[in-house]
Amino acid sequence: MGVDGRTVNQSAPSNAVLLLQQLRNDRRYDDLFGHMPSHLSEEEWVNEFSRATLNILGSSAAEGFADLQKAGMTTGNLNDVRRKAFTDGTWEKSPRLREELATFGSIIKGM
């Protein structure tokens, strides 16, 4: 008997299954996870692009971090994280990328 005197004749609904269903039914799911390989979990997919973005910007608090990460997840191409940083102006707000460009520029000048 259950705590309220009712006979328990089946297991409780799985909250975990319901939660995953809801997350995967989101309208943005295909955009961000459509290129995810089947051997990865969603967390691993997110972490892969989060690490790539961190490597480029140097800090997860950097302006534009989420937009760059989304850009990579959308195409499934890690290179697109970097590409977007230099095409949408994010690099101008990033000390690390500005320094990188400056270094690159000085190398070019010295050639």
Binding site: G2, Q10, S11
Partner: protein, 192 residues
């Protein structure tokens, strides 16, 4: 990355960045550099037993963790659970959660608390699924169960995992829709 590096990376993630050994904060990365887990073994042994779930040999933990990664498709939460409670991990993997006893669920809960303290993998859907099982209570001699997790707790988990997956908070409509589905699911179950 070779297999050895992968295991090293996985295991170091399970510890805080530094472990205090005899008053000295020592990097876990450095602890691995002796190659045989010797110093890490010492650190492991110096941890309170409540944090080690009865294990005293880090080498054994590393071995079973590696085995768990292989058994459970490189899933870190399941590998961690396999390190400390292999029978529970196997039972859950077989989809037989209703056969877990109250003691099993208590051990699962303790293991998740330890895993949560590492900060390595606690914000994941698999972690949430394991937590849900841990929060269930056996109600009858047939092993049937009912969830004790509150709607608020589950909603907070949804919000947290949503934020991780979609890099933004769910809006009020999405929260409301999820809550509605959750309550409908509970009502359907209660009516059966």
């Amino acid at each position: 990355m070779n297999v050895q590096d992968m295991v090293r990376s996985e295991v170091t993630d399970l510890f805080p960045e530094t472990i205090n050994i005899n008053g000295v904060d020592t990097s876990v990365e450095d602890l691995f550099d002796d190659g045989e887990y010797g110093i890490l073994e010492e650190a492991w042994a110096s941890m309170p037993s409540s944090e080690r779930s009865g294990e005293s040999d880090i080498g054994a933990v590393v071995a079973t963790y590696t085995e768990g990664l292989s058994l459970y498709d490189n899933n870190r939460e399941m590998a961690y659970l396999h390190s400390f409670a292999p029978d529970i991990a196997a039972t859950l993997f077989a989809g037989e959660e209703n056969s877990l006893s109250s003691e099993d669920r208590a051990l699962l809960s303790d293991t998740l608390v330890n895993l949560d303290s590492t900060g390595a993998v606690s914000n994941s859907a698999v972690y949430f699924a394991l937590s849900s099982v841990a929060q269930q209570e056996v109600l009858s001699s047939t092993g049937e169960t009912v969830s004790l997790a509150s709607v608020e707790d589950i909603q907070e988990s949804y919000r947290s995992i949503y934020r991780q997956w979609y890099l933004k908070d769910p809006d009020e409509y999405q929260i409301s829709r999820f809550r509605g589905e959750l309550e409908k699911s509970k009502m359907d179950w209660e009516e059966d």
